[in-house]
């Protein structure tokens, strides 16, 4: 990771204006977005968008031809190119041929992508952005920090200063007055400009129609007043039918700004007369810039389903801390990372892809149904293939995969730290490792791993057997969680088998892009876990559960190891997370809670993988309620705690403030106990609360339930 990049993160998280504005916005967005969709079936809507956009991505060439044919039949000039330089050249030549001195633009990310303004300005043409946010950042000499709200990082005071310095003295930091000032100043530009440049949100092939969505009304002026209109349209905007406009236009305003509809939508299908009766010159530039290549990539084709609403930014726990500029100059946030890798260069995404904590928030709101975290992992894998795996990382994985060696090394490190230890925590680590314990204490490494202690448990002989997959944290740091699980299963008349051959689930390797290592982990685990005749393979770590249930398969698929797929599927069919299994057993009457208990308040934290990959959020809550607890919901219960496996080690600068928000929300409930289903979250949250000397008890659901079951 580049030092400059890390510095930009530190600078961003310490900018209270930025984190304050983004934090408040992301909180408000979540509520207003839900409200905007209240009369709609979002799943059905996004399925329709994904299907229609995916169809378009598979027929890009055909749709581009059809659009060209239909638009040209109406008098529009269409220019199609893969080369950004040719786009710039076309517009400059057009401007020169028509004596254009001044251009007004409404927002176009495609034009940002090719640095159009700079190119035209160098040629002596005045280019004015007219979207208020774009105009502000243009005056300030900055780049957009958000696709929909380019100047979201600036305060009204900063905007007033920019206006004072760049336009006219005397502007006060009063938002309505600043807006009025912009209206007056830009009005003159609108009336003088000879050319207007826009983007487009949809390009309909069957009718040659451009659909342009705005709120300020600037696109209407840009497409009405100048006699030349140039629309720069990325090929991903193409859709086959006019009917395809319905789902996109239904979702876009709701997902982008939580509006039912934006103030203005213009559908332009051909040149219209100017005031003097002459027809407008209408030029549409269909810009490829690797979009065709993207649509032909089996993994990244789905990125073509993006409708550029930026909702993935708005719900991202990392984006709301660091803002857009950390991501680079053009496209920001989750989808921005992917678009940067393609439209700029894969290596340009090397640092920024590491910002993704893999919490999956964006997958829940994406109207294009894009698996953004999955694609970011794929970028990580491709970068790792290109750069090769670092030696240190290779060495780490070889240790991690050798369970006994890994445990003894951890234990040795831990014993060495003993003088610094308090209770069950490591408080400080020396030297370069100190970042790990700066904001949270780390758990002590158990003297004996679960794989040894479990043998000592006297289990009753049962007909039904299940296999337990522990994962690193339960095996080495929290064996008591595994012991509680055995206790519960025994109560249900089930014997727990611990297959010795189980190893790391491969998540650390996979999340680092080391897919070969992850595939070896998968192979070893499949062999170990399918060796016994068991009814289920249960895990009490959602990250491991997701690996066993979904990621073994996708890792093999990524590497083309199709021979391994049947066994991976056989395992996946048996895998279940702890809470879902217990809920099932309670529902079947095989487990009973102690009767008539009133256990008081408890709060529940949703772990990312459990809620968004395994879709289990009600099961643990129902179990706790049945046990006799009163659930006091924390604010943003399903927001990531900042752990993200090794993320908290790689980017403690981001992990710490995310955890801080979580701790505040936990404390606000007033509940004396916080429970969760993930040992990683326990490590992060328990460690964070310990650092703050809080008395709130943090437990895995398995431990809480073991106490309350008959």
């Amino acid at each position: 990771m580049e030092t400059k990049f890390r510095e930009s993160i530190v600078k961003a998280v310490h900018n209270p204006n930025l984190t304050g504005a983004l934090g408040r916005f992301s909180e408000a967005y979540r509520i207003s977005r839900t409200k905007a969709y209240e009369d709609y079936d979002f799943e059905a809507l996004r399925t329709q968008i994904a299907e229609r956009k995916s169809y378009a991505a598979s027929h890009l060439d055909e749709l581009a031809d059809l659009f060209t044919k239909n638009a040209e039949a109406r008098g529009t000039k269409v220019f199609r190119t893969n080369d950004p330089a040719k786009v710039r050249e076309y517009i400059l030549n057009l401007a020169r041929a028509n004596g254009v001195k001044s251009i007004v633009k409404s927002k176009s990310m495609a034009s940002e992508e090719i640095h159009l303004n700079k190119h035209l300005e160098v040629a002596g043409i005045d280019v004015g952005e007219t979207d208020l946010g774009e105009w502000i950042i243009q005056l300030a000499g900055q780049t957009p920090s958000h696709m929909v709200m380019p100047a979201i990082h600036m305060t009204k005071e900063e905007v007033a200063t920019v206006f004072n310095e760049q336009v006219e003295e005397g502007q006060k930091p009063d938002i309505p007055k600043l807006v009025k000032f912009a209206r007056e100043k830009l009005r003159t530009k609108f009336l003088c400009a000879e050319m207007g440049i826009t983007g487009a949100n949809i390009a309909v092939a069957e009718t040659g129609t451009l659909v342009i969505v705005t709120n300020e009304g600037n696109a209407r002026l840009v497409t009405t007043l100048p006699k030349i209109h140039v629309a720069i349209v990325g090929l991903e905007k193409l859709m086959e039918k006019f009917d395809d406009v319905v789902p996109v236009l239904t979702a876009l305003p709701k997902s982008a700004t939580a509006q039912l509809m934006t103030s203005y939508v213009s559908m332009i299908s051909g040149p219209v007369p100017n005031t003097d009766g002459t027809p407008k010159q209408l030029h549409v530039i269909l810009m490829d810039n690797r979009r065709t290549e993207m649509s032909q990539d089996p993994k990244f084709k789905q990125a073509m389903q993006c409708i550029r609403c930026a909702s993935c930014l708005n719900v991202c726990p990392v984006f709301r801390l660091v803002g857009g500029h950390v991501f680079g100059k053009i496209y920001t946030g989750g989808i921005g990372t992917i678009l940067t890798a393609w439209f700029d260069a894969l290596k340009a995404s090397d640092d920024i892809q590491s910002l993704c904590i893999q919490c999956g928030n964006c997958t829940e709101v994406c109207p294009g149904k894009i698996d953004i975290p999955g694609l970011i992992l794929e970028l990580r894998r491709r970068i790792a293939v290109e750069k090769g795996q670092p030696l240190a990382q290779k060495a780490i994985f070889s240790v991690v995969n050798n369970r006994r060696l890994f445990h003894s090394m951890l234990r040795a490190a831990y014993v060495m730290q003993k003088p610094l230890q308090k209770g069950n925590f490591i408080r400080h680590l020396p030297f370069f490792l100190s970042d790990m314990t700066e904001f949270r204490s780390l758990p002590a490494i158990a003297e004996a791993p679960l794989r040894d202690t479990i043998k000592k448990i006297q289990q009753p002989a049962c007909k039904e057997k299940i296999a337990f997959y522990a994962g690193c944290l339960i095996d080495f740091a929290y064996p008591e969680m595994g012991e509680s699980l055995v206790k519960i299963m025994n109560k249900a008349g089930i014997e727990v088998v611990f297959p010795e051959g189980q190893t790391c689930c491969g998540a650390p390797a996979r999340y680092s892009g080391a897919y070969e290592v992850a595939a070896q982990n998968a192979t070893d685990n499949i062999k170990a876990l399918l060796a016994n005749d068991v009814s289920y393979v249960v895990s009490a770590c959602p990250t491991c559960t997701v690996a066993l249930k979904h990621e073994f398969i996708s890792t093999f698929e990524s590497l083309g190891q199709t021979d391994s797929l049947p066994c991976a599927q056989q395992l996946a069919d048996k895998v279940i997370d702890f809470s879902s299994l217990v809920k099932k057993l309670v529902d079947e009457g095989r487990l009973k809670f102690k009767e008539g208990q009133q256990l008081g308040k408890i709060t529940y934290h949703d772990s990312c993988h459990l809620k968004r990959s395994l879709h289990a959020s009600q099961e643990p809550r129902q179990l706790l309620t049945q046990a006799g607890y009163e659930i006091s919901e924390m604010y943003e219960a399903d927001m990531c705690c900042g752990m993200g496996g090794s993320y908290s080690l790689k980017l403690p600068e981001i992990s710490a403030p995310i955890l801080e928000r979580k701790l505040v929300n936990i404390k606000k409930t007033g509940a004396p106990i916080a429970v969760m289903d993930c040992p990683g979250c326990v490590m992060q949250i328990r460690g964070g609360l310990d650092k703050q000397n809080s008395t709130i008890k943090v437990e895995h659901t398995v431990q809480r339930l073991a106490e309350e079951l008959e």
């Binding site: 100047a151 309505p176 009336l191 709120n215 700004t257 203005y264 213009s266 332009i268 299908s269 005031t275």
Partner: protein, 186 residues
């Protein structure tokens, strides 16, 4: 008026538009002229009212109307629109569940009067109200219409500190006036 109108009214008002309904065209006209007078339309720059040609005006004596209200003109061009305080036009469809108006805006006059002035008065026939976006899109013909405009509330921005501010480049006020087609049952 029925539930669809109530939905339209609620949704349009929620995005800061004003909604009126008059059964008679003459009532709608009287409302507009009174409003123009009250809002200070005069025969001086920045105080004009510009009215784009539309079916509503059929059968009305435009000369007489403009004489009765100095500053109101039916001669729409860039200059008169840029100097106008109020713009008036008729829109073709209204979408209830989003409070949206839809118009064939191929004629530039219709866009000038609804983009440049501070206030836009939008006339719509009551029987042109449809429930939702799909029903509106099924009515319009992009293969025959080069510029179709959708208008939902006045112009707005939240680009500075996410604070909603009404009236940026387009109108800061949108007044929607429904009128019934003579002889229609509504």
């Amino acid at each position: 008026m029925d539930g669809v109108f109530e939905t339209f009214k609620a949704r349009a008002e929620a995005v800061n538009a004003e909604v009126h309904h008059f059964p008679q065209k003459s009532e709608a006209l009287a409302f507009i002229l009174t409003y123009l007078n009250d809002t200070g339309v005069r025969d001086v720059p920045q105080a004009y009212a510009v009215w784009a040609s539309c079916p509503f005006l059929d059968g009305l004596d435009q000369r007489q109307i403009s004489v009765s209200l100095p500053g109101l003109t039916f001669d729409v061009n860039r200059e008169s629109s840029a100097q106008a305080k109020v713009g008036i036009s008729e829109l073709d469809w209204a979408i209830a569940n989003t409070g949206t108006l839809v118009q064939d805006a191929s004629s530039i006059d219709k866009r000038l009067v609804s983009t440049l002035p501070l206030i836009h008065i939008a006339l719509v026939r009551s029987d042109r109200l449809v429930p939702d976006l799909p029903s509106a899109l099924s009515k319009i013909r992009p293969e025959q219409t080069n510029y179709i405009s959708f208008i939902t509330g006045p112009s707005r921005t939240a680009d500075i500190e996410r604070v909603l501010t009404i009236g940026v480049h387009g109108p800061e006020k949108l007044i929607i006036v429904f009128f019934d087609r003579p002889g229609s049952v509504n």
